[in-house]
């Protein structure tokens, strides 16, 4: 009696390749080509963010060179005493921090900052009508912290990384787009604030200074910088010089129109 153990011990050799395998491999190659097809956008000059999709993505994350600074549209809350408190993103909507951030950025770019301010002001008013609670959960701690907010502003703030991570979290420059009292009605605003204690070209520890070229503006377009970088630098430099000579810190009537690229940073 013979017992065929080949299946169980896997000692039989692999079968010879067949036509079916040929077609299967061809289908596999086609499948790989489709999945890899977004790579073409890195060779055809198209914008990787605009070409991003799902599930065929250009995966643009972590690839932008931000140099030493950034501009971030966001919402700032203020207490009656002027203390600045950041309200939680969930006052705007669901989907997580990055989704809310992107939606707010887009609305600011579309000139809809008043809507953002109104939504935050309403949400905070509703929260403040309820008890802040006594618990020690992160949510309860946050509610107690936010209980003192009396005003929100939709701002677009400019920060230098080295300054920020050295502990100075004051924006070097900030444009206010809308303002609303908690429980009140939002209004459009056009103001710019500066922190004159900060160099508009960045701290001496930044890449500009470390390059041994000093705190000079970026190179012109076409030599490694994006249009957004170049416009931002010159715009801010001019605005800050004008503002710092004529206005005290924190108030300037100069409003910087946001280009699409800047706002999307």
């Amino acid at each position: 009696m013979t017992i065929d153990l080949s299946y169980h011990l896997a000692i039989a050799p692999s079968p010879r390749a067949t036509e079916r395998d040929l077609w299967a491999l061809a289908a596999g190659v086609a499948f790989a080509a489709v999945l890899l097809s977004p790579v073409r956008h890195y060779f055809n000059g198209k914008d990787k963010n605009e070409q991003d999709s799902f599930p065929l993505s250009t995966y643009p994350m972590f690839s932008d060179d931000r140099k030493d600074r950034t501009r971030i549209p966001h919402v700032a809350g203020f207490t009656a005493g002027g203390e600045r408190i950041v309200p939680h993103y969930s006052h705007f909507g669901a989907g997580g921090l990055n989704q809310v951030r992107k939606q707010i950025t887009r609305m600011v770019r579309q000139g809809r900052a008043v809507e953002v301010a109104q939504r935050y002001a309403d949400a905070l008013a509703e929260q403040q009508r309820r008890s802040a609670g006594q618990g020690k959960s992160p949510a309860a701690l946050r509610r107690r912290k936010e209980a003192g907010i009396v005003r929100v502003e939709i701002v677009r703030s400019r920060y230098f990384f080295d300054t920020y991570f050295a502990g100075n979290t004051t924006p070097q420059m900030e444009t206010v787009h809308a303002r609303a009292d908690v429980g009140g009605t939002a209004t459009a605003v056009s103001e710019t604030r500066h922190d004159d204690a900060q160099d508009a070209q960045g701290p001496p520890t930044g890449p500009m200074a470390r390059s041994e070229l000093g705190n000079i503006p970026p190179r012109p377009l076409g030599t490694g910088n994006t249009a957004g970088d170049y416009v931002t630098e010159n715009t801010i430099q001019n605005a800050s010089v004008a503002a710092s000579q004529s206005a005290p810190r924190n108030t300037s009537p100069i409003a910087q129109p946001a280009t699409e690229q800047e706002a999307s940073q």
Binding site: T18, L25, H74
Partner: protein, 306 residues
């Protein structure tokens, strides 16, 4: 193997045979079945836990609707109740496909529903990249013979959960899933080296800037940036090392398809990279950190020798 197939003489070259043995090894049904069950369970837990978030998302202001992928067939968002219903149906079908109930229907249906629900989730201004691999893996598993073992179907049809036979169709499933994995990492790598800095991206300044921006955004939207990211910000050399490792893993990903050991080294490197991102940036690529995404690099069950 089915006995009716005849060898294809023109392609009987050693190179072709080797390629077929590598990419379509003759394996048992248990191999893709384990992947179907593991991926299905992860997807069920991952999505059902997010049900409330999905429902809130579906009820958003229509002005935020920016359709992507297959959802581009819509010009305006679905009524929230319809979108909620599709989401719930996707979860029910996923459970059926994971259990292997009528997989010839529930498998492809699950693939389509997962693609739709996650595309719809990404159609509200922000495109997230954390669900791409999971969705593509589910699509592969739904469209292939991944339920010939460990399934209700196999139990009813063959009276066992562990059918003992070899077929190249079973060995091809992990390869197809790994192709999807490779595509994700390789394109991510290309995004970095095709930027203005090219290979100088490996210097680490860009990565450091990205981590700085991410931490600041967390601060400015009421969340908290990870302490590790802030503490390590000044360790420039560390970011150089991290950038080099990231590029090596991402651009080297295709090598993971040509050798099983290389594949496992890649899986370990990619998993470590995601753990690092989790610690330093607080970004949770849950599917990757769970390790389920790399299971196809560790195929289960025997295969016939070359």
């Amino acid at each position: 193997m089915t006995g009716t197939e005849h060898p294809f003489p023109s392609f009987a070259s050693p190179a072709f045979q080797k390629a077929v043995d590598l990419l379509r090894p003759a394996a048992q049904p248990i191999r893709p079945a384990v992947l179907r069950v593991a991926t299905g369970i992860f997807s069920a837990a991952h999505n059902i836990r997010r049900r409330t978030m999905f429902r809130t998302l579906h009820a958003q202001d229509a002005s935020q609707f920016t359709p992507v992928g297959v959802v581009k067939i819509l010009r305006k968002p679905l009524p929230p109740r319809v979108a909620d219903g599709i989401f719930d149906a996707a979860q029910a079908v996923n459970i059926a496909a994971t259990l292997g109930i009528g997989h010839r229907i529930t498998g492809p249906l699950n693939a389509a529903l997962q693609l739709w629900t996650i595309s719809y989730r990404n159609s509200w201004t922000m495109l997230l990249h954390s669900d791409n691999m999971l969705t593509m893996h589910q699509m592969v598993l739904g469209a292939t013979r991944s339920a010939d073992a460990l399934s209700i179907d196999s139990l009813l049809r063959e009276g066992t959960l562990f059918p003992q036979r070899f077929d190249r169709a079973y060995g091809a499933v992990p390869t197809a899933m790994n192709v999807a994995t490779v595509a994700v990492y390789f394109i991510s790598g290309m995004a970095k080296v095709r930027g203005p800095l090219g290979l100088k991206w490996a210097g680490g300044d860009v990565l450091r800037g990205q981590i700085a921006v991410d931490g600041m955004r967390k601060d400015l939207f009421g969340s908290t940036k990870p302490e590790a990211g802030a503490a390590l910000y000044r360790q420039k050399e560390l970011f150089t090392v991290m950038a080099v490792v990231s590029l090596a893993v991402e651009l080297g990903a295709p090598l993971s398809l040509i050798n099983r050991r290389l594949g496992q080294v890649f899986a370990a490197g990619a998993w470590g990279m995601h753990v690092g991102i989790r610690i330093i940036m607080g970004i949770k690529f849950k599917y990757n950190i769970s390790g389920v995404s790399y299971l196809p690099y560790f195929p289960m069950g025997p295969q016939l020798p070359r």
